[in-house]
Amino acid sequence: SQTIHQWPATLVQPVGSPLSLECTVEGTSNPNLYWYRQAAGRGLQLLFYSVGIGQISSEVPQNLSASRPQDRQFILSSKKLLLSDSGFYLCAWSDPTYSNQPQHFGDGTRLSIL
């Protein structure tokens, strides 16, 4: 069966520091991959979307970037964090074989910027 892993689970970083969050998927090939941010008491905002290695679509202008160095690895990065980057970051995958497939989420990383 397919599984998705995110780490770390929680992270506290100072303003201006770099960021690297990692997401890996097991048990499937060539998944669609997604990064979301969820602010407290809010819904999910799509940040990045990838259909393959090196293929990244950015959904909103921001201080973050994403990379997909391997088929089942998705990385969220920043060179210099801002206070507004605080939030709950979620990675998800979906099966691209057919249309209308659900996305499956990891358990997220809670990022606090001090």
Partner: protein
Amino acid sequence: GENVGLHLPTLSVQEGDNSIINCAYSNSASDYFIWYKQESGKGPQFIIDIRSNMDKRQGQRVTVLLNKTVKHLSLQIAATQPGDSAVYFCAENPMEYGNKLVFGAGTILRVKS
């Protein structure tokens, strides 16, 4: 967990009662809809989905109803249990968005014992 609840509507039900969570979606071209459950500090968990060529779909203790005329989606949970307490999100897939979903704001379900 996440500090949810500041801006989300809340539904409180007694254990054993049925729950109905509603969602109004925005895009008449959406052809696929999903309900997710999110517990505190965790990622959203898939519950049930429905395609636009259907108006009802049933799972284990859950039923999703789709009314395309008024762009309304509902999730019914039978015999609600304390473990059902969570935030529930609906999501739609507008056809022009490819494989991307648009999520609703969420509803908090609190089950009273």
